[in-house]
Amino acid sequence: MSDIILFAHPTFGVLGILASVWVFVEALNANNTNQRRIRLAAGIVTVCIVLAWMLGGFWYVNYYYAEKAVILKGPWPWAHDFVMETKEHLFFIPLILALYLPIVAAKRLATNPAARVTVMVVAGFIILNGLAIEGAGAIINHGAKIVFIHSGQKGAE
């Protein structure tokens, strides 16, 4: 079960990033016909990022301690000390932006350039932070994996 949660966390993160790209492009081309799609996409961003937060948080609080112990004994302790410590707090930035996105996307963007620019900035930073966090997750995972690769055990490679 913990593996399903672990993989669902970045999956919803990626879906949130993709939905943010969708919001950004729709806002860039805001007109009278795509307002409904903008609101729908913004809602999907919120749902995906909130699910990524809850699933990742549940796994972090309940299961990460074992992986942390492995990472700290290995050749990449900074995968926890720097990358994980940063990631676990950096995640709150796209979370807050994702909670805010549908609020500002409720404005009629085709006739409101202020709201349109704000939506694009918010979606853009969800994308940038999301990509950084996905990359950080891969480094943390490798920080544990590299311990076994360097162990010399047959098949670990």
Partner: protein
């Protein structure tokens, strides 16, 4: 006089919760710094919910929702360009501040 950054005003919940989002992002980084530097706070936050990260989550979301509701009720308005810069600045400073802290400490 109109300028190139004069794209209009944001009002209502979009203004109140937009400012609250920027404040919360900076608050998040400050709380991370303080609890990392001051262990009794970290322990206290852990005692509230079982894990310091869970309490940190609740604190961030609470600041965003409560401050957003207060600012919305007070009918705060803000220039669109200013709000966009405020959110971008908060995200850059907040994210950069976290990375810098955990590199140095």
């Amino acid at each position: 006089m109109s300028t190139t950054t004069d794209i209009g005003v944001i009002d209502g919940a979009a203004a109140g919760y937009g400012i609250a989002a920027a404040v919360t992002i900076v608050f998040n980084t400050l709380l991370a710094w303080i609890k990392d530097a001051y262990d009794p706070l970290n322990s206290f936050m852990a005692s509230l919910s079982g894990h310091h990260w869970t309490t940190h989550s609740v604190a961030d979301v609470a600041v965003f929702l409560i401050l957003g509701a207060i600012l919305t009720t007070r009918r705060v308005t803000i220039q669109g360009a200013r709000l966009a810069m405020l959110l971008a600045g908060a995200a850059i400073i907040g994210g950069g501040g976290l990375a810098l802290w955990f590199v140095l400490v």
